[in-house]
Amino acid sequence: MAKSDASASRSPVAGYFVGVGFLILASVFLLGKSSVEIPLTEQPPVRAEQIMPGAFRVALADPPMVNIGTYDQRCNDCHGLFENTRPEYRELTQHTNIILDHGINDGCLNCHDKGDREKLTLRGGGTVGFDQVAQLCAQCHGPIYRDWQKGSHGKTIGYWDTDLGEATKLTCSQCHDPHSPSFKPMPPLPGPHTLRMGKHYADHGDLVDDKNPLQRWRLDEHAESDSAEQGGDH
């Protein structure tokens, strides 16, 4: 029996199969796609202005220039002409773009100086310029001001090594809108664009899988089950 097995394994047909098999393999290697195609979807583009470095917003300089109508004007160009005798708490007829949402601080003249509109008023008397806004904010936001002075709050850009270049410590109003100081929610930029394993991360429904090459078979499965459900309805 053993001898007949051996002679069978030496049968000429088997040898041809091996050779032809190798040739088929060779042709597959040669004619097939040489590089692996990674089936990733297009990443949503991130525009350059979405990742601009520097200050979050443009703060008023000292002296402040305000755009009224069509061109920039100094505050006192209008406010210096006459003394405003109208009550402080009223519907504004100018500066209507300003929405005041600053907690219990709801009066213009809590911060703006009544006499000189190009200055900010301090509670204990005296005024500071708009570039010294931190001194004004510090009167209510003491702990934050302390953190800002120590560098744990706020943003310092430019050079960390002041021997090599200038460090710019941004002031309050370069991040916060003084009239509405809390940070507003913003849309996040796109997340990681990687292969995603499993479904546990998905709290936005099954469709999140369409970005996942490893889960594509599930899409077919969903399509089949959807069509099956539709068929069942009829």
Binding site: L23, Q50, L164, C175, S182
Partner: protein
Amino acid sequence: MQLPIMTNTTNEDGCPTRQYASRPGMTRRSFLRRGTAATGAVAAIAASLSPLRELADTDEFTVANFIQKHYKEMDGQDMAKALERISAQVEKRYDIRPNIRDIKPMDGVEFVYALNLTRCIGCRKCVHACVAENNQSRSPEIQYIRVLEMPRGTNDIEQGNHHYQRATVPSEDHYYMPIQCHQCASPPCVKVCPVEATWQEPDGITVIDYDWCIGCRYCEAACPYWARRFNFSKPSIPNDKINPNMSYLSNRPRSKGVMEKCTFCLHRTREGKMPACLEVCPTGARKFGNILDPDSDVRKILESKRVFVLKQDLGTLPRFFYYFDERDPINEKVPTGTPSGGDA
């Protein structure tokens, strides 16, 4: 059936064959059979090596690259040659002449990063500023910074989700924890590298010699902070997106099959500038500086804030610190209730 030692016989087709006991089976038929198999095998081997032809199409594999020394063994002349080769490569591939140099660490400087978790809103601007600064591959996109969306009330990072997609951030019942390379003082990734392609520099930055890396990904497995990235395919960067300000150890273009990681933007920070992720952060949650300088922001933060590091028990001694403010204005708005996943 027993055959004599040497005999003339006929096979089953009636063809006369001569069979030798010493070389059994060497008939015309068996010769063709073996010949076919051998030819096929050679062809298959040649074909299976055919992907190597692709190497010739790219400019990634050159003799100069192959015989280049390890970064630490290169002298000034070797480095000048290597930089010239890389410049020419970048110019050929991206049509832009880079300003590439080898920037050495500064004396008396140890970099430390601090991140204020109270302020981070999870907008991912840092992620993409980093991609733009460091010439990461755009397709597939490689991101060094991973922003975890964490349920409030826990610091178990296993509960974090970095794939969050929301109309707006922050979500009221989450906080956000960006993770990037922690530049550990005792880096596990360096210990496992079999070829010493990655090491820690005197200023605390762990770097990779991309020309020395063999792509075994041991370091990726060893890193407890998921900070290392692998180029599974050839990085693709549009020509107009290339940042020409490059250094040998940080953001020069990588090739397929090598690891890469955050280097605290050493081409910026070793010249005194802030890293790109800090510059773009809209809330100022990111703080960077020299911990050896008593007047630096990070030194004051480490002295005055309650900072913590991630996975402290691993003994990796990260140079990346997280802290919370004493008052949390965002959290104060949230009504008290189940911290996470209570009835979700």
